[in-house]
Amino acid sequence: MKRESLLAALGTLALVACAWAVPWLKFILTIALAKGIAVLGILLLLRAGQVSFGHSMFLALGAYTVAFLAPMESEAVLLLPAAALVAAGFGLVIGLFLVRYRDIFFGMLNLAFAMVLYSLLEKLYSLTKGTDGIRVAALSFAGTEPERGTQEWIVFGIALGLAILFGLLVRFYLASPMGRALAGIKTRETRLEFMGVPARRVLLFAYVLSALMGGVGGALIAMTTRHVTPQIAYWTSSGELVFIAILGGAGSALGPFLGSVAFELVRVYAAAAVAEAWQMILGAVLLLVILFAPGGVWGLLSRRWRA
């Protein structure tokens, strides 16, 4: 645990140092942190043995909430919780239905909901401006409207702070009776029922929490990119989140952030090096992880510590 905390502290310092030393990386790292927060939600579901192939719908809900509300309310401190609440509320409504299913049905039903949302965002042009997307209006931060460079640092700082907050929250949650019962769904759901524990309610709580974190991730992406399109709800976007979860490893709350930073950096440098084949490089990385490091980046690090 000490080593995990140390790694988290070193990782935080490294991110700040990178963002300071290479200013253009700040954008990439903010997106990585935002996605990492969303992937924490995937990690929760993986602990229950479930995979959501449609989790980007919550990113989209968070991002579009910011895009829709920003012209009326520019305060980022209010927009973030609003996006989280919208995503969590939607997660609760569909979660009541989804937690009745397991395995491939759970995964594909999530995908189905995400694709319905994608279609709505794409087709309801008068509301969403279709594939053109919505430009996010100017934001204020605690009543101030700083210039662009400062604003990037502020969003980066908020993303980093929320990443630490949600990382700790997930860590505590997974060690709690609810978190241990959640992991029990993966191995012995029947036993939970015969202990008087409602497995569906346990999974629903995790699902809503994962939706909330997806919403926060989406809101941060909207605040960073300042432009939101339906692409964020597309199935490839959901696949990316699962990719990051596998890459980072599900063994620790640090995994999603290790995975998302590695993913974004590999993507940026692979795209710069071989513009036509960066997806092939990402695919090869995933193959190597599955074959040689099934515990992801986190698994590699913790194995090294144990050795």
Binding site: A175, M178, R180, A181, A183, G184, F194, V197
Partner: protein, 251 residues
Amino acid sequence: MSEVLLSAKGLRLAFGGVKAADGIDLDVRHGEFLAIIGPNGAGKTTFINMTTGYLRPQAGRIEFDGKPILGLSPRAIVRRGIGRSFQLPQLFSEHTVLENAALAIAARRGIWSPLTPLLRPRWRDEAMDLLDRFGLRAVAESRADALNEGARKLADIAMAVALEPSLLLMDEPTSGVAAAEKMVIVETLVRVLRSTGVTAVFVEHDMDVVARFADRVAVWSQGRIAALGPPGEVLADPKVRREVIGIAADA
């Protein structure tokens, strides 16, 4: 308080043409250890599954502590005070034995605390105490899937006992356990269960175990109760010896 804790009347359940319960009438008395014996496929586990809400009989009624429980979910039945263990131990295989025990304690005390650890000092102590009573302290930190079959059986029953049931149904608590271990396990079980005052119903194939620990024996045959009474009487019945135990009447 009525002498009868669990009362089953006219239970019927068929799977296709196979009658797993064909008019089961059985009263389980407060504080007794009732053994259920019979050949495979006689409907012994089906009775446990019906009593715990896992299967719903096509006819009949079941009362627990004077109140009907038929139609209730397994969860609701557990909350009324009926616990069960399984023929194949249902442990959370990726958790340690201590976590398994603590989770069962949490299930009784309330699991809805997302930020306080499962292994908080009070629950850890309580779980350790439970494991101690079952002779499992030495394996408390082992993963549940690393245990031998005897320890898995005991841990499975310990989790059911952690719920503090007034009636405990155990499905073959000694099956798959090495002969040398069997009596040790049963003696541990009986000592713990007697100390808690729980009423126990257990399905068993080992007649030595039945003869030594049961207060009464119910003999299951083709979905019916063929005989019911004290072990000395039932196990001496030539028909039971021939048709159920598989020993010639003059042996």
